[in-house]
Amino acid sequence: MTDTIVEARQVARHFGAIRAVDGVDLDIRTGELFGLIGHNGAGKSTLFRMMLGLLPLTSGEIRIAGESVSGPAFRNVRRMIGYLPENLALYDNLTGMETLRFFARLKGADLRQCAARLERVGLANAADRRVREYSKGMRQRLGFAQALLGEPRLLFLDEPTNGLDPEAIREFFAILRELQAQGVTMILTSHILADIQERVDRLAIMKSGKIQSCGSVQALRETVNLPLLLEIGGAISAEQVAQALAGLPVLSIEARNGRLWVKLPREAKMPALTRLMALGDAMQDLHVREPSLEDVFFGLAE
């Protein structure tokens, strides 16, 4: 068994003149929790669909556990994959249990698993109710239970936290961690960065069909090195502040909403604070705004 479960090499997908995915190289390591981030239209769904074998590649190659997803071994490859699509609506007339049995049969999984999977996502009590009566969160859980059928070694989760409340999101990631302990590899997308930033092992940021950056959250923060923002309140003018900070590599000083906003590189933080303190009572308020992970992403994805 190799250390890499998904290998993408120079993967491209063009729709006419549009290069939805444009020369992507990506290695997903066995057993990691991997996040794929990007604006709408950045190409992450297209890449996802190609990894699942739902969309042919214009060029390049994708291998899962060393096999092509649409090659002769496709049934075996697909049996080890679990997939939760974005905005999935299942069949209103079937009960939760019937839904799982349908997918278990197609997947060639043991039908006795169905009850255990429903239990695991907290739907045991709703097993015999029709999906029609399910809430949005319950439907999302059912979709997740479906992805866990068989013994998947690789999970593709597209916006899996959609429709889940914070409590359910916590439970969801608890299940993901259990799966990870069993050696399952997971790839997920999310547009709510706060939901995943502290929970994934590595992230890839996509922009215009390319992988802009890939690594751990910490590594990404360091690569980008975005400036800090100081927010100053009080009866103090931009000129006074500029004077106080003279000699430091200040990037900009703006007056907005009755407050002053100073942008400066991280390394100038302490000297700048010392000098501002010397201004005394004129300065009534001071906030230091660290760049959030969101800023990191948008910095990269801009």
Partner: protein
């Protein structure tokens, strides 16, 4: 390699879905009611009430079924694929160890099963109610009518599945389905008639019966009318219809082509 189990799983789910939402029950009740009403009250306008000949009953039912079955099967099947696409479940199905051929066949066979069950149950129950008044020959004709109704339904179901593969969304698919019904059931015959009248019947008159084969609804009509001697003279078709076409096996075979061809086109498109 086709896996029959996968086809069966999809077909079973579709069939169960239509039983569950009472589609099958509703259609069976409608068919049974129509058959009995036509059999016993069809001559009410002529002042008589009671069972008439099975041939007249079948001829009346044919006129009814030719409108009804294409409509209900197009409605039954138009969202088979596009509905899954819109729901987001198509990607999920295709990520499973199932081929597109197996998925389409499963959908088609499951819906065909629901249609066949409803048709056989509906007209069959009416047949049982009439059985005391029918001889063996009449029963055979009636069974032939039921069988050809199912084939007619499958042909339009096949068209519906094709529409559901080509359409971009459900709304578009329903529009196409209605247009298809309009064309084959209402417009097609008028066009042929118009062409015949416009040319004064001098040209292509001999081709006319063959052109009817381009419409599964007309194949159904010819198939049923030709097995009934009374009705054939009634319609005056005996004089214009070439003998080599008046063969129920040949017409049945053409019906099967009407079932297979749209499905094949659907699969070709679905694989792209």
């Amino acid at each position: 390699m086709i896996e029959l189990g996968q086809i069966g799983t999809v077909a079973g789910k579709e069939f169960r879905d239509r039983i569950r939402n009472r589609w099958v029950l509703a259609i069976a009740v409608v068919f049974a009611a129509f058959a009995l009403v036509i059999a016993y009250f069809g001559a009410a306008q002529q002042g008589s009430v009671g069972f008439r000949s099975i041939e007249i009953t079948i001829a009346s039912l044919v006129s009814l079924v030719i409108y009804l079955i294409p409509l209900i099967t197009l409605i039954l099947g138009f969202d088979a694929i596009v509905g899954e696409r819109e729901r987001g479940s198509l990607d999920l199905l295709l990520s499973l160890p199932i081929t597109r051929l197996e998925l389409i066949l499963g959908k088609f066979l499951g819906l065909s099963g629901a249609l066949a069950f409803a048709t056989v149950a509906g007209f069959g129950l009416a047949g049982i109610a009439m059985a005391s008044q029918l001889d063996a020959h009449a029963l055979l004709n009636y069974a032939g009518f039921i069988l050809s109704s199912v084939l007619l339904g499958m042909a339009f179901l096949s068209l519906a599945v094709m529409i559901s593969v080509f359409a971009a969304d459900r709304a578009g698919a329903s529009g196409l389905a209605i247009a298809t019904w309009f064309f084959f059931v209402l417009v097609f015959d008028l066009l042929l008639l118009g062409a015949l009248v416009a040319t004064g019947g001098h040209y292509g008159g001999a081709m006319f019966p063959y052109l009817l084969l381009l419409n599964p609804a007309d194949v159904f009509r010819v198939l049923n009318i030709f097995s009934l001697d009374d009705v054939r003279t009634l319609y005056g078709l005996a004089t214009v219809f070439p003998d080599e076409l008046a063969n129920p096996w040949l017409l049945g075979g053409i019906m099967w082509m009407w079932i297979a061809a749209p499905l094949a086109v659907a699969l070709w498109r679905f694989k792209r």
